[in-house]
């Protein structure tokens, strides 16, 4: 059961080569090794806990069981898990690799077994009688690699007859490992800047640069559409305080322009504002740390209160939407919690109220829609974007499967930010998605999520999908909105 080389998939045919992964090396041997080489993970680590990792892992697990809500979850799952492997058929990673170590239940069981052997009466007795210690550095290593193979898409949760949420177990395993300093460097560096850096956001955008960017976008819209559109900044008392994935300000200008133009066209620019105190929707805490998740979501709440806003508006981003939706009531209390809405819900509302006029002759190419797991898996946002797209895209086709049961883009769970695992993401986790996109024959793949967009572009590049353009929903709206006069179509 224990893999010989947990660090990589190199020995398995059909799996693309992973970059620089040294085989696990015993401590104290030879030349100085980087932390990720010591541990043998395919992603870079910044540092590694210097002491006894096994002892520390168990201390962390014990503290987590005591002070959080996971105790009962782990205990129940450890009791009922039937190991039927039904989940395997729904996991796109297993479908691509056929490697038993990629079965969701196997991954979950890595942690459950630690619980059974170290935290239950039976397990502790077993260890006392046999004198064996179950958890080893080898097992920590295997878990560290395994939980970052999973994209946390939770598609497998539909298949588990016992109702085990493998995505939540992946999150918990990652949380415990993160307290042991085992976190992909890409994630921790961004989170540190967001929580403790000067700029306070994951892309390290200073406020003057943000303001410049917004002015630049306004000029752009003026040039392209001939209208004066405003990105409201620091306006108090607005209905929505806007938090996109902050990387959108650098990478997804069209999405942001589309959002601003939509508000403008509906004549409702006075409903939203961007806050300079905090303007980042990204919450990597969802991927690896409850501690970070709480601090990040509190920044959104504080900024909304500072601006006397009424609702938290999240841009086109799956994990930002879900983390706010779930964590705002979790951490701030459900009573009187700020409502969290996704931009597509607002746009659909404007469309239904007849505030938006869309030209059906602009987007003539075939369009398909990719459901970001974090907003679609629970059925929260599935029909809304389709209703918007069908309103102006003549040639809209759905992928198979779609909606709640969509396949992940392959870059979920923060893995999209880990550039060193790109070939794994595009050739293995993204393979099913590439096939799905190819089958639709679409030119535009609408992916209303910053992570999905980056990942899908790389998937298309690496899987020879040359004619595909990955865009946001508001990118297309930007092209198709009909503006007359000062906006506000009757």
């Amino acid at each position: 059961m224990v893999p010989e080389q947990p660090g990589g998939h190199a020995d398995t045919p059909g799996k693309g080569p992973l970059p620089v992964v040294a085989p696990p090396v015993k401590k104290g041997g030879g030349a100085k090794l980087l932390p990720h080489q010591i541990l043998g993970t395919s992603y870079y680590l910044e540092r590694i806990y210097p002491g006894d990792k096994v002892k520390r892992f168990l201390e962390i697990f014990a503290a987590v069981l005591k002070y959080t809500n996971y105790g009962h979850l782990v205990d129940t799952y450890a009791r009922v898990g039937a190991k039927c492997a039904n989940c395997a058929c729904s996991c796109q990673i297993y479908l691509a690799t056929q490697d038993p170590q990629d079965i969701p239940c196997y991954r979950t069981n890595l942690l459950l077994e630690v619980y059974r052997r170290h935290f239950t009466f039976r397990g502790v007795m077993q260890s006392k009688v046999t004198g064996s210690v179950f958890l080893t550095e080898e097992k920590i290593r295997e878990m560290a690699e395994s939980v970052y193979h999973c994209t946390g898409c939770r598609r497998c949760s539909f298949e588990c007859p016992m109702g085990i949420d493998h995505g939540l177990m992946t999150h918990l395993s990652r949380y415990i490992l993160s307290e042991l300093d085992i976190i992909p460097k890409a994630l921790v560096v961004a989170t540190r800047e967001q929580l403790e850096g000067k700029t306070g956001n994951t892309s390290a955008i200073p406020v003057p640069a943000l303001v410049d960017t917004l002015e630049f976008l306004q000029d752009d819209i003026k040039d392209e559409k001939g209208v004066d559109v405003v990105f409201p900044v620091d306006q108090e008392g607005r209905e929505f305080v806007f938090f996109p994935a902050v990387s959108d300000y650098l990478l997804e200008a069209d999405t942001l322009k589309g959002i601003a133009l939509t508000f403008h066209a509906a004549g409702e620019t006075d409903r939203w504002t961007i806050g300079t105190g905090y303007f980042d929707g990204i919450n990597y805490g969802l991927f690896y740390s409850d501690w970070c998740a709480e601090r990040i979501v509190n920044k959104e709440i504080d900024e909304t209160y500072r601006l006397k806003g009424k609702k938290i508006l999240i841009g086109e981003c799956g994990h930002a939407s879900r983390s706010a939706k779930v964590f705002v009531p979790s951490f701030a209390g459900a009573k009187g919690a700020l409502p969290v809405v996704n931009i597509m819900e607002v746009t659909l509302d404007m469309l239904r109220r007849g505030k938006l006029k869309l030209d059906p002759n602009v987007i003539t190419e075939r369009v398909t829609y990719h459901d970001p797991c974090n907003i679609a898996r629970t059925g929260w946002i599935v029909d809304q974007p389709r209703e918007i797209l069908r309103a102006f895209c003549k040639n809209f086709v759905d992928m198979v499967p779609d909606g709640e049961k969509n396949f992940c883009c392959g870059g979920g769970g923060g893995t999209v930010s880990i550039d060193e695992v790109r070939s794994y993401r595009t050739k293995i986790t993204g393979k099913v998605k590439a096939d799905q996109i190819r089958a639709t024959g679409a030119h535009y793949v609408v992916a209303p999520c910053a992570n999905c967009k980056k990942q899908l572009r790389e998937v298309c590049e690496d899987n020879d999908l040359k004619d595909v353009e990955v865009v946001g929903l508001h990118d297309l709206l930007y092209k198709a909105l009909i503006l007359d006069g000062q906006g506000g179509t009757p």
């Binding site: 201390e59 962390i60 503290a63 987590v64 002070y67 959080t68 809500n69 996971y70 105790g71 009962h72 979850l73 205990d75 129940t76 799952y77 009791r79 009922v80 898990g81 039937a82 190991k83 039927c84 492997a85 039904n86 395997a88 058929c89 729904s90 297993y94 056929q98 038993p100 079965i103 239940c105 196997y106 949760s157 298949e159 007859p161 016992m162 109702g163 085990i164 949420d165 939540l168 307290e179 921790v188 989170t191 540190r192 929580l195 403790e196 740390s289 409850d290 501690w291 970070c292 998740a293 709480e294 601090r295 964590f327 009531p329 979790s330 951490f331 701030a332 209390g333 459900a334 919690a337």
Partner: protein, 234 residues
């Protein structure tokens, strides 16, 4: 043999039921206590009961799964569970035994229906066993316990079938009867202590899932304090 049979029909049977009932009460008490604690700790104490009820029901009546990729697995599983629930409680022979012993009775299934359910359950169990043996993923996940429990269930139904239809079976009736009693008693005893526990905890797994995502305000800080990391940067 007859001494064993007396033991199996008398003290063992009562003991097995006692273990099952006490074990179940313990499991339920723990589950309710822990759920209450989890809800108390959570910042978001709202629980979407309707959604969870629907989801749980979706697994009891797995119509959706019948459109899925594992139709034989689903059918086999449903057939086995239907037999496992209906036959022990509603078989005429069982009802008569309870009536004789405890003086309470309830309507029984017609014997043809009970026979059908038993055969369906046996067929289901055979498919589940084949699935464990032949499917790559299931084989990888399966340990001795998984095969043992499956074999035990097969034994319960097989011996039960031949106790009800002894004609044509080469084995002596008493041996079959003893086998049926002992294997059933073992299943009852193992329910609270093995993965068969899902029979008791099925109803709570969705609540556990939902509450699992209701994180605890300040939980992360307290974990770091306990680890001596309070105040440390990210």
């Amino acid at each position: 043999m007859s001494a064993w049979l007396e033991l199996a029909r008398g003290p063992f049977l009562y003991l097995a039921f006692a273990v099952l009932i006490l074990g179940a009460l313990r499991q339920w008490a723990l589950a309710i206590g822990e759920l209450a604690r989890a809800r108390e700790m959570a910042g978001d104490q709202k629980i979407p009961w309707r959604w969870m009820f629907k989801k749980s029901l979706g697994w009891i009546v797995p119509v959706n799964a019948l459109r899925g990729t594992r139709i034989p697995f689903t059918l086999a599983s449903v057939a086995f569970h239907a037999g496992m629930l209906a036959v022990p409680i509603f078989l005429a022979g069982h009802v008569a035994l309870v009536e004789k012993g405890l003086g309470i009775g309830w309507p029984a299934l017609p014997s043809a229906v009970a026979d059908g359910l038993t055969l369906a359950a046996l067929a289901g169990l055979a498919v589940l066993l084949l699935y464990r043996l032949l499917d790559k993923a299931a084989r990888f996940m399966s340990g001795p316990q998984d095969y043992f429990l499956l074999a035990l269930c097969i034994l319960v139904f097989l011996t039960g079938w031949f106790v009800a239809h002894p004609a044509g079976c080469p084995l002596p009736f008493n041996l079959l009867y003893l086998g049926h009693l002992l294997s059933t008693e073992l299943v009852l005893v193992l329910i609270p202590f093995s993965k068969l526990c899902h029979a008791l905890l099925f109803a709570s797994t969705r609540i556990v899932w939902e509450l699992g995502w209701h994180f605890v305000p300040g939980g992360g800080d307290r974990v770091r304090e306990a680890l001596g990391k309070a105040g440390e940067p990210v």
